[in-house]
Every structure is written in C-alpha cells, then in structure tokens.
C-alpha cells in the first residue's frame, strides 16, 4: 500500500515541477540559489499573481535569464532587483518596499488593530464605571435579596 502511495506521489511530482527550465540553470549552485531567491520576489507581469520563478510565461523566462545574466556579470542581489525595478517599477516586487506611497499598506492593518484595541479598552472601562455608578458588584445585598437567598439556600439543604 505504502509503495502504491509513494508511486502515486512520484507520478504527480512533475505536475508541480518548477517553471525554471533545465537550460536556464546556472552551473554555479551559489549563483543559481541567489537567482532563485531573487526570482521568487519578482512578479511576472503577464500572470500577475505569480512570481517569475513560478511562471511559464515567455516574459517570465526572459526575466529569469536576465536575472542570471546580471548575476553572472557580478551584480549584487540588490543591483539585480534595481535593474528590474528601473524598467518595470515597484510593481514587479511581490514584497512592496516600505516608503511614503506604501505607508497605508504597511501600517494600515496595525493601525486598525490599534483602533480596535483602544475602542475595546474604552468600551470595557465605560462598562465597568457604569457598573460602579450603579452600585457596583461589591454593593451589599438589600434586605429583600438576603431573604430570598436564605430561602433558596434552605431549599437546597432540605
């Protein structure tokens, strides 16, 4: 059974294979590793929610080759990314940079969380002070309440 499952998995692996073609791969594994890392963060402009590392689009292939060409020419990772953003803008970065125009994007979720937390805190505090104003939960029982409680407890004992 195990062998069958393993065989099934192995049969399916080619379907999830990388878009990177064998002829693109650099002989130097360090450079190739850097190329893969850079490619994973670069958006394919044709199929926009894939990275060029994932995409089979011809333009993605061209860009992968370009990344490798730049690395071979001795560029640093940053220089390679700059080379691409100079041509295609920040849009190609799957991780948008932190700057004035993307501030809302980065800060937004935290700001909303903070607003929620402050709101909740204010609400809870308001409820507590309202309860205190109404006598609070430490106020002694009234005579009526005491009698009722006694009656209930006696019933329990009996």
């Amino acid at each position: 059974m195990k062998a069958v499952i393993l065989a099934a998995f192995l049969a399916l692996t080619p379907l999830t294979a990388f878009a990177v073609q064998p002829d693109e791969v650099l002989p130097d594994p360090t450079l190739e590793g850097r190329a893969r890392e850079i490619s994973k963060d670069l958006r394919c402009l044709v199929c926009q929610n894939q990275s060029i590392d994932d995409s089979n689009a011809p333009l993605a292939r061209d860009l992968r080759l370009l990344v490798r060409e730049r690395l071979k020419a001795g560029d640093s990772d940053q220089q390679v990314v700059h080379f691409v953003t100079d041509r295609y803008g920040d849009y190609v970065l799957l991780r948008p940079p932190f700057k004035a125009t993307t501030l809302v994007l980065w800060i937004g979720p935290f700001a909303i969380l903070a607003i929620g937390a402050i709101g909740t805190a204010l609400y809870l505090r308001g409820r507590k002070s309202a309860a205190v104003a109404a006598g609070g939960d430490t106020a002694p029982l009234t005579e009526d309440e005491r009698q009722r409680l006694d009656a209930l407890l006696r019933k329990e004992d009996a």
Partner: protein, 178 residues
C-alpha cells in the same frame, strides 16, 4: 453622540466597499510605467530584413516620435494597425516600430498584408531591448518628446479615442514646447 459610535464600523465597511467597487473599474493590466519622463533606454536594433533602417535611441531625438511595439502573432496589434496607419499617413506623425519576438518572414508577410506605416522597424527577436523599455505585453506604444524622453505609454492597442483625446493633444503640446 454615543450612539453614533456604533455607526462607525458600518461607515468603515461602506467606505471599504466603495473603494473595492471602484477597484473593479480599473484595468489590472494597466501598470504605471516606471519610465515616464525618463530618457528612452539606450539601444540600437538592427532593421527588420528588407528594411533600410532599424531603430535606435539616437533616432528618437529631434522630433516627437511614437514607438510602437508589435508582432505578427499579436491579435490586438492587427486591431490597432489602422489607427497607427492613420497617425503615420494622415496625421504626419513619425512612428517607429519595434518588432517583438517575431519570425522575419511572418513579420514581412504581415506588413505586406496590412500595410507598413512605420518610418523604420527594428527587429527585437529575443525581446531583450523591449525589456529595457519595460514592455510586458504587445502592443505597447510610447510617445517620445524631442529630447528623447518617454512622455506617455499605452499598454494594449491604441484606439481612436486614445489618439484623439490623449496622444494628439500631447504631440501638439510637445511640439509647441520647444
């Protein structure tokens, strides 16, 4: 006043909803060009065989020029071809073509069938020069001013509306400017 605070989430929700609704109107293919107002990239493309001149950055200085990236395999290119032809033949605009990743015989055949409105055509067979232009889908058209700077980019086919409302006024303005 305290009641109103409970309306806040609703208002926020409506705000976000409206923002998303407006987002539907936008074309996800329309990516702002990083090259607007920057000099056109340095390049020199060999002519498409059978044509005298290719296209190079030096040729883009002097007069206002349109650079049109096209291919014979690209259906919208055929759709925009009459618009390009009108710009070049009737309105006297210099249009230079970049033939993107095309087979020479296909490109020549296509031009024979549809007419050749280009002042010159450079063959970009591996698409390398087009990457320098930030091309990500054909057709694309760039408007270059006299100093050789990119002033406008159209992704996708040029329509008569884009020509009349955006390109022609810009050409007029750029020609008058200097």
């Amino acid at each position: 006043m305290r009641r109103l605070i409970f309306l806040l989430p609703l208002l926020l929700f409506v705000g976000v909803g409206v923002a998303f609704l407006l987002g539907f109107e936008r074309d996800p293919r329309d990516i702002p060009s990083a090259l607007i107002d920057k000099p056109a990239p340095e390049f020199a493309l060999a002519p498409l065989p059978g044509h005298k001149e290719g296209v190079s950055s030096a040729m883009l200085k002097g007069d206002v020029t349109l650079v049109n990236v096209f291919a014979s395999w690209c259906i919208p290119c055929k759709a925009e071809h009459p618009v390009i032809t009108r710009l070049s033949k009737e309105l006297g605009v210099t249009v230079r073509g970049i033939n993107y990743k095309d087979k020479t015989e296909d490109a020549l055949d296509w031009l024979k069938r549809n007419g050749d409105p280009y002042a010159s055509i450079g063959a970009d067979q591996d698409g390398r020069v087009s990457i320098d232009w930030g091309v990500y889908g054909v057709p694309e058209t760039y408007l270059i001013d006299r100093q050789g700077r990119i002033r406008f980019k159209q992704v996708g086919p040029l329509t008569p509306q884009v020509v009349d409302e955006q390109i022609l006024p810009m050409i007029k303005h750029l020609r008058a400017a200097s």
